[in-house]
Symmetry: C2
């Protein structure tokens, strides 16, 4: 069995998060149709969230640990994700692969994911199999057994994963470089998958040390969405996770914070495989957890008005009206324990330079700051955000992920449930103020992805990079 | 007594290092006139280097600890320098200020300094006072006593130091931002003096913990230059430092290393106080410690040919011939335990933009890479480097500093002594190869220091920064 297919990729999570952002906290508990979510805490500190969904006899079971790449010791980047892989290597009770085989035999699905702030594992199985799956998860929360014989080949797996997903992907490399230049002090500047030269040195002892430090019931949240009664889920949890002792010494989540931004930064990544230059900018902005009340919600609405879809300001102005871009947009990532990112991006039309696209993008932002947003834009965006959140409830895993992600990044069940109301309360003045306060050049890194000149030209002799072409995949 | 005057500023050390770089390892032991340097090791691991200089009855006594800002726990930036200040706060034997008073009464001088890689303390006193001074230093190596009553006011002192030296100094702020953008993973990206928000949280326990972790005889080198016989100095050392027990558990100097550079970076620092824009570029290059044989020496010669003094290529081309700059130069810092920096800088003449200056600077570098250096340039630079090193021996403290700095950054006494011969052996091909290999844009951060537009203009609306004026103080 190839675990590479099972483990979700570290920054795929980040991508997914970026796309889900406008949605995640939007579970419409405030809407009459919203599910009634239960939230329990076991004596050993494990939190259990149950989201009823009785449309099919299926449950999505997720366990989330409050530990991610940002909790790694410097010099050990990639360790959280490496451990995520190694969690499939068996315990004294269940040899390597058994858990996955059982899930497969149930006709289930499983996956795992790692981000800066959390590591998670999930299974989607028939409801009657829930307790069995919980037993397996509880077993590997403290019972993982590692040997060099399994650790070292798995290290090759994550290295190959980095190869495929970073080294062979110019856009991902650009994102990695932007993060490193945006976060000058926070561990968010390190790639979740790790720097290659550090991944190469990760050991069994590193993994076990990290596991023992961070994995335990009082550092975990179990989210179950599906065809299960809350009290039944609680009983199962007590019978499985409840048998584990609380971890006596979970370190507090106190990571190095960013200094006040001082200098506008830019960077150019040149790669021979680039056919379509792109512009990517990230601003350092508050997450929901670090924001003042209302600030994060205003940033969500701002991102929507500025850059979500073909009705957004960036798209309309740059793609539809001026034809200088083939794509353009914006996003905001509210779900981070520490400071977060607001992004704008675009791909120039044929014959348009990245500089011209950047100037035009800046003009769109400047106009919004100068004149604010219209009542119509505001209403449309807010309604759309709330509606999308309601539609997204159709997906069991999405719902489970909203709650998990929120609880991992300093928000509560109540915060998730009040999200639609908070979005509805955002005013035009708040949106404009958010743009004025946060979309400031010194808070940002602007990345240019360009085609590298032929190998005959020494890099030191290159002039300004060639700037034409088109692409615009969003990258968070 | 105001210790602010005594403690040398954290990054003043870095500056001094940059200026001394072309000199430090050049002690002409290979020259007949060079001093005979003795190198001892005590049973407790303390290393003692004695450099005879009998011209006056004076000694310079320096103690160097192999711990600096790069050894701080993330989130505790500024701690190494803070401890340097606190080392003047007294022991059980000698109350705060007594050591300094005694040195002052001797007619002596004292100072202290912190860099990324080391922390040092020195006194210049009459030779007959050497043993007394060593006794004081040995006492505070393990006997420091701290209370909140002395720690908290001293924290205000370092915060004010940061105010004066960073916040109120646009060029220093530019250097801080360049370092942060150049070193994506290495702790060298953090300012030695610390990020303000982290300095504000430093405590007595942080300082004592750091002190106990890193201060001990087996993590220290004593360098004595002056009117003392080596055997006498050794006897004094045994009677003072020799009484201390070795530190059982000094952690290895294994800091996070840089990933391979991938993207050319630039940043713009706008400040209303800037009257003279400047261009600063730093390339990530090997230090002597991390270089292959001959590579660091080639970088030293390259920096000299490219940018040392009015005969250098950058100065001749940009200032003398083309009149587009009022200053221009280059430097290389060989003395770092991990990767280091090669810098080029300049200030444009009135009416010249930073972009134009950058283009012209790039052309000078490209020409050197393309055509190499002349035999005449090579000979002149090598002779000049060696000669300057010989002249510099005239200064007792400079000599002591060469050895101390070398021993703190992975070099040996023999490395210092062979420096002139190694410089003499550098070939034109090596210089060109060094330029070709290391002066590559993707290895660099280019910083622009510009005058900030008036407060009425929102930063997000600013166009490209104004680019004219002139200044060019070197910043490493």
């Amino acid at each position: 069995m190839d675990f590479r297919k099972l483990v979700e990729r570290a920054d795929a999570v980040t991508w997914a998060a970026a796309f889900a952002l406008l949605l995640w906290p939007a579970l419409a508990a405030a809407e009459p149709a919203g599910p009634k979510v239960s939230d329990f805490k076991l004596d050993n500190g494990l939190e259990l969230v149950v989201i009823p969904d009785h449309r099919a006899p299926v449950v999505t079971h997720m366990i989330w640990y409050k530990v991610g790449a940002a909790d790694e010791t410097p010099g050990k980047s990639g360790l959280a994700h490496f451990l995520e892989h190694l969690m499939f290597k068996g315990t004294a009770t269940h040899p390597a692969g058994q858990f996955s085989q059982v899930v497969a035999r149930m006709g289930g699905q499983e996956n795992a994911f790692t981000s800066n702030d959390y590591t998670g594992y999930y299974q989607r199985v028939p409801s009657e199999k829930l307790k069995e799956v919980m037993g397996f998860e509880a077993d590997r929360m403290t019972g993982l057994v590692l040997t060099d014989a399994v650790v070292l080949p798995e290290r090759d797996v994550i290295l190959e994963e980095r190869n495929q997903r970073m080294e062979n992907n110019p856009r991902a490399r650009l994102g990695e470089q932007i993060d490193a230049a945006l976060f000058l002090n926070s561990p968010y500047g390190r790639p979740v998958i790790g720097w290659r030269h550090e991944m190469e040195g990760l050991t069994k002892d590193d993994a076990i040390g990290f596991y023992r430090r961070f994995y335990g019931p009082n550092n975990a949240v179990v989210v179950i969405a599906g065809d299960i009664e809350p009290e039944q889920a609680l009983a199962f949890a007590k019978d499985t996770y409840g048998k584990l002792k609380a971890h006596a010494d979970i370190p507090p989540r106190a990571r190095p914070q960013e200094p006040p931004p001082a200098a506008a930064r830019s960077l150019t990544l040149a790669d021979p495989r680039v056919e379509q230059p792109t512009l990517q900018r990230a601003y350092l902005v508050p997450s929901f957890h670090t924001a003042k009340p209302g600030e994060s919600e205003a940033l969500e609405v701002l991102a929507h008005i500025l850059g979500a879809g073909s009705n957004s300001r960036l798209y309309r102005t740059l793609v539809v009206d001026k034809h200088i871009a083939t794509s353009a947009g914006a996003y905001y990532d509210s779900s981070a324990f520490d400071m977060s990112k607001f992004g704008v991006y675009g791909a120039p039309s044929e014959g348009v330079t990245l500089t011209d696209l950047e100037t035009a993008t800046d003009a769109v932002i400047a106009e919004l700051i100068d004149k604010g947003v219209t009542a119509d834009e505001l209403d449309r965006s807010k309604s759309r955000l709330v509606a999308e959140a309601i539609y997204a409830q159709d997906n069991q895993a999405t719902m489970a992920r909203w709650y998990g992600q929120a609880l991992m990044t300093g928000a509560s069940v109540a915060d998730v449930q009040s999200w639609p109301e908070r979005i509805k309360a955002v005013t035009a003045a708040q949106v404009r103020d958010a743009a004025r306060q946060w979309l400031v050049k010194i808070r940002s890194v602007t990345g240019y992805l360009v085609k590298e000149a032929g190998p005959a030209v020494n890099k030191a002799e290159q002039g300004p990079p060639a700037r034409s072409g088109s692409t615009g995949e969003k990258r968070s």
